[in-house]
């Protein structure tokens, strides 16, 4: 929360575990509505991106624009690298974030 204090737009990227097909790209606008619980892969702390955003909302610390991109994961076991479908989803997210910034950041 301290990292996004005082900014205009927050973009979060994370893995999702919603039950959708692996590699699916989820786009959430947290400015408009609360994030779904149980959507992101959790550690045993049970405190993930959704909880961090909702905590910030409760404490009036949420930036005006909050966009979340989540790629549905395939395999959450220990290991290295991304599954091919997830890698493709990540590439899509990368492009969409660049497009978003091109849209909202005025040219110099």
């Amino acid at each position: 929360m301290d990292l996004f204090a005082g900014i205009d737009c927050l973009v979060l990227v994370d893995a999702a575990k919603s039950g959708a097909k692996a590699g699916t790209v989820h786009r959430l606008d947290a400015s408009q509505s609360p994030l779904p619980k149980g959507f992101f892969h959790y550690s045993t702390h049970l405190f993930g991106p959704a909880e961090a955003v909702e905590m910030a909302r409760m404490l009036n610390r949420l930036p005006p624009m909050v966009r979340i991109f989540a790629v549905e994961g395939k395999d959450f076991a220990h290991g290295e690298g991304l599954s091919p479908s997830v890698k493709r989803g990540a590439k899509i997210v990368e492009k969409e974030i660049r497009d978003l910034f091109a849209e909202i950041i005025p040219p110099r």
Partner: protein, 459 residues
């Protein structure tokens, strides 16, 4: 937060991802009830719990750690002594200093080095930072919800945003100390065998003073808020094991003592304590060597053994929040953690206000053959390291005994007693109470496996 609030909210909720079912009655009148907690929540790492009850009597309690073993002791073999602090720091993201300091001290012992003066003070300061961020994270975000009958800290933020803001700011203070002295808020990079890589700047260290003064007040306020919780009635005559130092509330240095009369140098740890591998856990379980009994390490053990060395304000706050001189109720560990947080803020302030940059960032280190021992007070209790080095300073043998591994048997004992005392509760309420009992220990399961699934079967 008042006990009135706590009592009103203490009705347990159905644990998430849990199921509770009652098996059909067997012939002869006895029946089996099974509660499953898929994974113990609001702890660090993966663990579960099984309790078997037959005809109203507990037959078995198993605190199962199924997080995979992490083999750090094996990873260290063949590595240089200088790599041990940074490698062992990866055992834990919330208590890396405990591992860096234990490893550094053990290596310094092996190499015949001593770190004194300002470098020693800086080590104590960065360790205080770790106590602050770890204790506050656990007390406010992971444990407090239990006492309020809430699933998580998010719901506390809804009811009492000022308290959560205070806790978050206090936790951040701890991480800022780690960043200022250690170079990074998580897994600090500035600590090494013999001292530090770079000397922390005077302005940066002294600049922590204002926030530390606020931290002292905030710790006391949070402690007083938590004092209103409804603490379940359970007491145990613990064998309390901690460090004790002649001149200060022990954090980084001291002998290993117990309330049963033990007083030994760190190098004798393995003569008095041992680890046992049990079938139901991937983490070794600690016990005393002579009597093969469980023991307690951590905030309550430190408090009970070293209360006289706390600051006057910490002692006064402890009394004000209802802590007895000797704490025997593990549910009060949340209060002890806040008293220690207050002390850590005071101690940090003392160090930063007097800080002058040392002339050298570390003592000169020359690798050689040797064997050394180190033990410090991680937030969760004593964390022991021993290493054997060859004549090039490469590690031939490493043994690391984290506090959560040492506490496992005592956790099971506590659970036994808590279940025995609360058999009258329904399955869901008892499950909640058992999870709360485990969270009394702020267990770092990830640490314990360096090397809540709750099943209660009533027959």
């Amino acid at each position: 937060m008042t006990s009135r609030t706590a009592k009103a909210k203490s009705a347990p909720k159905k644990p998430t991802k849990n199921t509770a079912k009652k098996a059909p009655a067997k012939k002869g009148g006895s029946h089996t009830t099974t509660i499953k907690v898929d994974a113990l929540a609001r702890v660090e790492g993966e663990g579960a719990l099984t309790v078997r009850v037959k005809d109203g009597a507990i037959k078995e309690v198993k605190f199962r750690i199924f997080e995979p073993p992490r083999f750090f002791e094996a990873l260290l073999k063949g590595r240089s002594f200088s790599e041990a602090p940074d490698i062992t720091a990866r055992i834990c993201g919330i208590c890396p200093i405990a591992y860096m300091m234990g490893a550094s001290q053990a290596m310094e012992d092996a190499l015949g080095l001593e770190v004194t003066g300002t470098l020693r003070d800086l080590r104590r300061l960065v360790y205080c930072g770790e106590w602050i961020e770890s204790h506050v994270l656990h007390a406010a975000m992971l444990h407090a919800p239990d006492f309020l009958g809430l699933d998580d800290a998010l719901l506390i933020a809804k009811k009492n945003p000022e308290l959560v803001e205070k806790a978050l700011r206090l936790k951040k203070l701890g991480n800022t100390i780690l960043e200022t002295v250690g170079g990074r808020a998580v897994h600090p990079v500035n600590l090494k065998v013999g001292g530090f890589y770079g000397i922390p700047k005077r302005d940066a260290v002294r600049g922590l003073a204002a926030e530390l003064k606020w931290g002292i007040t905030a710790s006391a306020e949070i402690a007083k808020a938590f004092a209103g919780f409804d603490f379940p009635d359970f007491n145990y005559d613990y064998t309390c094991v901690s460090l004790r130092h002649p001149d200060e509330y022990a954090i980084c240095e001291g002998n290993i003592v117990s309330n049963r009369g033990l007083d030994i140098p760190v190098k004798d740890f393995l003569h008095h304590f041992e680890e046992e591998h049990v079938a139901h856990s991937n983490a070794l379980q600690g016990r005393t060597k002579k009597t093969r009994q469980p023991y307690l390490t951590g905030p309550i053990a430190r408090y009970n053994n070293n209360f006289d060395q706390l600051s006057p304000l910490a002692k006064e706050t402890a009394r004000a929040i209802g802590l007895p001189r000797i704490v025997t109720n593990p549910f009060q560990s949340i209060l002890v953690r806040m008293a220690e947080t207050l002390y850590a803020c005071e101690e940090s302030l003392r160090i930063v206000e007097n800080y002058e940059e040392p002339t050298a960032a570390s003592v000169v280190v020359t690798p050689k053959k040797g064997e050394g021992h180190g033990c410090t007070e991680a937030p969760r209790g004593i964390c022991y390291h021993t290493y054997r080095l060859d004549n090039q300073g490469l590690i031939e043998k490493a043994v690391i005994v984290p506090p959560t591994a040492q506490n496992q048997k005592q956790i099971e004992k506590d659970l036994w007693g808590v279940v025995e005392k609360n058999m009258h509760l329904g399955q869901e309420a008892l499950t909640w109470r058992c999870e709360q009992t485990i969270r009394n220990y702020d267990p770092c399961i990830s640490c314990a496996t360096h090397f809540l699934k709750l099943t209660i079967e009533r027959e």
